[in-house]
Each structure stands twice: as structure tokens, then as C-alpha cells.
């Protein structure tokens, strides 16, 4: 004789009972903090020495939340007896995180590896105006940028030369 079916109402009680006996999955933030993935888009960090004020990021941003100002200046020539070079100096680089969509187009589009993603997310403010991060603050986020993770097997991606912040820093030092 086949086993009688346990009525669905009883099975349902069993499910909730068993779940009650297992530990809860709640993470009690802020006492305990989960670490997000290394690629998580938390905040954008600026490596100022790499920035040439090309304005690509400000142009490509869908929200127009990056404000850049720069001016031309003369730098000493590379070799002896050469002409003085014209360089762009970055005066102002603000990102308004009140507008930012965290899409990452600016980071991707920067040809000089000056922008990086960092998984930091704890920067809420009491005033919306404080969500405008200036050059200095964006530079401070560089300390939190992780090294990009290794790729899955089968990937044939040529890793970007300066995707790692350490490499990007070294680029300009040379």
C-alpha cells in the first residue's frame, strides 16, 4: 500500500519549524560588516597624477555629475635645450555622488587610468551638499582600491596594463 501523502498543511509547518531551528542569516550591521566583492562599485577614486584633464569622463557621464576644471601651464622640457612643454593642470575634480548612477562609464573610458572603483560604501552624509567629493577626498579613496581579482579559467582577456592601482601609480613615477 503506498504511503499516504502528508497533507500540504503539515509539510508547510515542517518547513517553518526546521527553519526556526537553523541559525538566522541576519548580519547585524553596524556591529558586523560584510565585505563586498572586490569589483563592487562603491565609490570612485581618483589618482590625480595620472589625470591629464582630457575631460572624457565628464563628457561620457550620463548624469553629468563630474565637474572638472583645469588650466594650461608650462613644464620644464624633457631634455636639455628643448622647448618647455605645455601640460594640463587639474584644478578641480568633483564627483557629485548625489547624482552619480554608479554606472562606471567614467572609469572605463579614462584613457590614462586615473579613475578606479573601490568597494567602500560607508560615506553617507547628513547634508546632500556633502555628497560632492572633491579632488582630495577622491584621492583618499585610492587607499581602498583593491587589486583586480584573477580571471576565471578559460578567459583570454588581456588584463589592462594599469588596471591595478599599484601599477597605475608606478606608471607616473617612472
Amino acid at each position: 500500500m503506498p504511503r499516504p501523502e502528508v497533507p500540504g498543511v503539515i509539510k508547510g509547518l515542517g518547513v517553518t519549524f526546521r527553519t526556526m531551528l537553523k541559525p538566522a542569516v541576519t548580519v547585524q550591521y553596524p556591529h558586523v560588516k560584510e565585505t563586498p566583492a572586490p569589483r563592487a562599485r562603491g565609490v570612485i577614486a581618483l589618482l590625480e597624477e595620472n589625470c591629464t584633464v582630457c575631460m572624457l569622463c565628464a563628457r561620457e557621464c550620463p548624469d553629468w555629475c563630474i565637474y572638472i576644471e583645469g588650466h594650461n601651464d608650462k613644464a620644464p622640457p624633457r631634455r636639455e635645450g628643448g622647448k618647455p612643454r605645455t601640460i594640463n593642470v587639474l584644478d578641480r575634480f568633483d564627483i557629485d555622488y548625489g547624482l552619480c548612477m554608479y554606472c562606471g562609464i567614467c572609469v572605463e573610458v579614462c584613457p590614462f587610468d586615473a579613475l578606479f572603483w573601490s568597494p567602500e560604501y560607508e560615506y553617507s552624509e547628513l547634508r546632500i551638499a556633502d555628497l560632492l567629493h572633491d579632488k582630495q577626498r577622491l584621492g583618499q579613496w585610492m587607499d581602498t582600491v583593491p587589486e583586480p581579482p584573477a580571471y576565471e579559467s578559460g578567459a583570454q582577456v588581456k588584463p589592462k596594463k594599469y588596471a591595478s592601482p599599484a601599477a597605475a601609480r608606478a606608471k607616473n613615477a617612472s
Binding site: V9, T16, A37, R39, A40, M101, I105, S153, V157
Partner: protein, 390 residues
Amino acid sequence: MTVTEPQQLAYIAGQAAEARLRFELETEGMTLNIGPQHPATHGTLRIIVRLDGEQVVWADPSCGYMHRGYEKLAEVRKYQQVTTLVNRIDWLSSFCNEVPFILAAEQLYEVEAPPRAQWIRTLLFEMGRIANITLFLGEMGVQLGAITPVFYAFRDREHVLNLIEAATGGRFHPNYDRVGGLKDDLPKGWVEETKAVMDKVREFCDQMEDLLLGNEIFERRMRGIGVIPARVGLGYGLSGANIRASGVDWDIRRDEPSVLAWKDCDWKVWTHTDGDSFARYWVRLQETREAAKLVDQLCDGLPSGPIMAKMPARLRVPKGEAWVHTENPLGEMGYYVVSDGGPSGPFRCKIRSASFNNISILPWILRGVYVPDVITILSSLYFILGDIDR
């Protein structure tokens, strides 16, 4: 005493007023707004119903409270920027919104993404389906009064969202597709983790089956409620699980040629003959299991290779138009993208979203329905406001 002419005229005027009251204003029946702020509508949908006691006499959905103007915004943005917009249409399965748009853009650009990219796109598409439908499975219970399943749904979809975050950087808005491929390849260990998470998803489906599907009270609330005959459903443009639950065997993944990897996997389309709310829930439950199976197969068969095609060096996108539609979790979603030869953005991007058509059946289906069943039917049709209003 005879009736004077002013009296006669006054009498006639009174009759006319009464007729106006009784027939034009329809004094019997209470007109009620469900929404736009209501826990049962998934967002700001307003449904105007006229009730006769507990029965609905007339219903009319009034959407648009969440209209963000995506089609207009897409006209002033580049293809890359439109992807960020389009993520936010059906926010529970965001990646699924990107894919048809990027496929349409790739048709216009005349490039094809390499196979590895197509497989990863299919993988994330199916994971988006799992993330979306597990929430439906849980919150269907909440609309009926069972408050516990929705917590299980949130708990188990966390794993899927964490996986999406590990690969793309964003839990809800991945913004991972690029014209010609993907932004970046998967991080190390991702495939293994995905398979472990699929086991959890299958366990969740079993739990929902025990907790809700098999529950006699659930069955009594759902069977026979909101029956949609197949012809009526097709007439209103229903798609997805709604129409499959009425017996129509139509799934764009299988029935339309696509560059994505569904044809390389072994999977099944689930249909049900009843067409009622219970059938819709059942079909979606089976679809989640099928999606988990698909993800496992895709993980196993992932080809190696580059994830970005060599983009032709061209300054302008050729003139043309492209229509790509896919089987999104909510139904059929399609993009009709027109390029006028401009340098960077679409000239026009028309979005065919599944939920907009799904709720067009509400005036038909809600007539004569009791008030508690209105909630059941709304939830079982499963729409997302971002999808309706864009």
C-alpha cells in the same frame, strides 16, 4: 385645477435630473482607488474599480506614476549610456533588460560578440530570471497572508545577487554589457560558487513547493481564480508565464533564432492547461528550477575565448533599424532601435515591455471578481512598475 406650464416644465426637469442621477452617475456601486500607494500593487499602479458590495463591476488600470521617459532619454544618450538607463526598467532582473538592447545595438553596429560573451550573457540572463522569479514565489504568499515565504525568497536571492555583484560590480544594476561583448571577464572561482548557489535555489524551490504550492489553503485561494483563456490572453498581448499557464506553448528562447546560448542547452518549456492563478504560480516555480538547470549547463559548457569582439573602427553607426526581443522573466521584452547614421546614440529606441501588455487584461479579468481575489489576480499576473511605465 389645471397644471400650469411652469409646473409642467419643472416636472419634466425633475425627471431629467433623476434620470441623469440614476443612469449617468450610476449611484449604485462604490468607486475605489487601489493604489497608487498600496501594498498589493508592486509599485505605483492605480487601479480604479467600481464595486457593488464585494464584487468588482468595472476596473481600469491607470499607470504612468513612474514614467521616467526612458525612450526620450535614450534619444540623447550614447549606446553605452542607454545601457545604464535600461537596467532600471525591470529592476529585479536588470541584466535581462540590457541584453536585448545590446543585441539590437550590435545589429546596428554590424558586430557579433564572441561565443564566450554570448554564453556569459545567457548565464547572467538566467540568473536574473532566478532573482526575479524567486521574489515572485515568495511575495505571492504575502499577498495571500502567508508572511514567511517572502523572507526565504529574499534570503536565497541574496546569493544570486552576490554572484552578480562579484562578476559585474553591481547587485541590482550590473551595466555589464558592452556593444561587442562584455565589460570584463568572470572572476576566479565564480563558476564553482554559481553551481553551489544553484543547489540553494533548488532547495528554495522545494521549500516553496512544500510551504505554498502544496498548502490546501493556498490552493483554495488560487485555483479557479483569474482564469485567462488562451485566445483572450493572446488577444491582449500577454506573454511569458502568464500565457504559458493558459496552455500556449510559446517561448522566445526556443522559438526564435538568437545568438545567445539557449540553443546549446537541453531544457524544457513548462506549460499548464488551467490558466488560473495557481497555474501561473506553478509554471513560474518550474521555470525557476529550469533556469537553475540551465545555469548549471551553461557553467559546465562555458567556452574559452575573448569576451570582446574587435570593434570596427568607424565614426558613425550605419543607418538602420533593429528589433530584438527576448524571453524576460516578466514576459516578452523587445527593443526597436533606429539609427539615423549619427555618431553615437540611437535616433529612436522603442521599448516593448512585458508588464505594460500584461496589465492591459485587467479590465477584462477583474469584472465580477470579489475584492480579495482582486489582490490574488494582480499578484499572480506579476508586473513590475518600472516595466509598465519605463
